[in-house]
């Protein structure tokens, strides 16, 4: 799974989900550990190969 970008989307001052580009597709990824995209984001962040940007 190739993740080329990840950024938080905030609602009312709190993180609501992550907008990520995964295998070339822009996705809204929820914070659910059973979601394979979120699990992979966490894995890559932990490995230091991906950084989730702050919301704009």
């Amino acid at each position: 799974m190739k993740i080329t970008s990840a950024q938080y989307w905030d609602r009312d001052g709190e993180h609501n989900h992550i907008i990520a580009t995964i295998d070339g597709v822009v996705m809204s990824v929820p914070f659910d550990p059973d979601n394979i995209h979120y699990a992979e984001i966490l894995k890559q962040v932990k490995a230091g190969t991906l950084t989730i940007k702050d919301a704009e």
């Binding site: 609602r11 989900h17 295998d23 996705m27 809204s28 990824v29 929820p30 914070f31 059973d34 995209h37």
Partner: protein, 332 residues
């Protein structure tokens, strides 16, 4: 088979509850549901879906396509999955692999009691046709237990439909197999893989391997085809007739993992610079909160297994907005 053996098998079928419905743990085993589209999809990387619940891996220089086909073994089935080799890999490196697979949710295979002393026998049956005859392999694999077993089967004649029945008489008593909403069991059909993914057949082992060294090198054969349908996995040592479910039921089962929507919730607005959040509920409870792509909303907020809210800001006076064109993926 003697009459006594036949009766013994019948007794086993009754004991295992294989007479009733809900025998098959495989969803979309007769390839009716292709929510992403029925035309050829190129598999040139890993985790590529065409048919619902089945996905392809191409981890190397070769490629193949998957599409829905009406080429079937008999009138029992309407469709099959048709794989065509569109890019030969004539020099498979150790870490290369080419497989087609289906993942089964833990809840649906918990009955096998894998990872315990009560692990049960399981039987896989399917129809297959390929332009390249020879020895092929399937493998059962657990992503959480990291356990596998490879079984060989033979495609005796090229371009001829053949039904294959493969029984794994002893279930795996080792490892932590997922029994809830995670990945419970994966079935691989190998199309040619490197030495890293080759192992011995007929025994449970640790790791992730798909084939033996006898596997036909399908991916090295230009324009080779491989058809598959009637896939069924059931408890016990007997392959019962294919369990036909209604299309609506099969589609609903698929939509627990992937939903494609084509247009919902039209609104008309008055005022200026309106911001709205339109709730949308999935047709079924999804396996996990899904990832959403393709939506025309400014943001897809508050995503759960039940639904989400499409948020749109800056809508002008008199404008309309339709939350549309999105897919939700809770694949394993």
């Amino acid at each position: 088979m003697t009459k006594a053996a036949e009766l013994a098998k019948m007794g086993e079928v009754l004991t295992n509850g294989q007479i009733g419905s809900r025998r098959s743990m495989v969803i979309n085993g007769k390839f009716q549901v292709f929510q992403r589209g029925t035309s050829a999809t190129t598999v040139n990387t890993n985790d590529v879906f065409a048919a619902d619940r089945f996905k392809g891996w191409a981890n190397g220089g070769g490629t193949y396509t998957v599409e829905q086909s009406t080429d079937v073994p008999d009138n029992e089935f309407e469709f099959s999955a048709k794989l065509i080799n569109t890019g030969v890999d004539s020099s498979i490196a150790a870490d290369d692999f080419y497989v087609y697979a289906t993942d089964i949710e833990g809840y649906n295979v918990a009955q096998l009691a894998y990872g315990s002393s009560d692990a049960k026998a399981v039987t896989l049956s399917f129809w297959v046709k390929a332009s390249l005859a020879g020895t092929y392999c399937i493998a059962l694999y657990s992503t959480t237990a990291s356990r596998y077993q490879i079984k060989e089967y033979t495609i005796s004649s090229a371009d001829t439909w053949e039904k294959k029945t493969i029984t794994i008489a002893s279930g795996d008593t080792t490892g932590s197999w997922n029994k809830t909403n995670g990945n419970g069991l994966r079935i691989y059909w190998d199309l040619g893989s490197g030495s890293t993914y080759q192992g011995a057949a007929d025994t449970w082992a640790s790791g992730q391997k798909f084939s033996t060294t006898n596997q036909a090198n399908w991916i090295d054969t230009s324009s080779a085809n491989f058809y598959l349908t009637g896939v069924q996995l059931e408890v016990g040592e007997v392959a019962t007739p294919f369990e036909h479910r209604s299309f609506g039921e099969e589609l609903s089962l698929c939509q627990r993992y992937f939903i494609k929507e084509n247009g919902v919730s039209m609104r008309n607005f008055t005022g200026s610079s309106i911001a709205v959040s339109i709730p949308h509920f999935w047709k079924v409870t999804m396996r996990a909160a899904p990832s959403i792509s393709g939506s025309n909303a400014t943001a897809n907020e508050s995503i759960t297994t039940q639904g989400f809210q499409g948020y749109k800001g800056g809508i002008g006076s008199g404008a309309s907005w339709q939350l549309t064109g999105f897919s939700a993926s809770a694949e394993l």
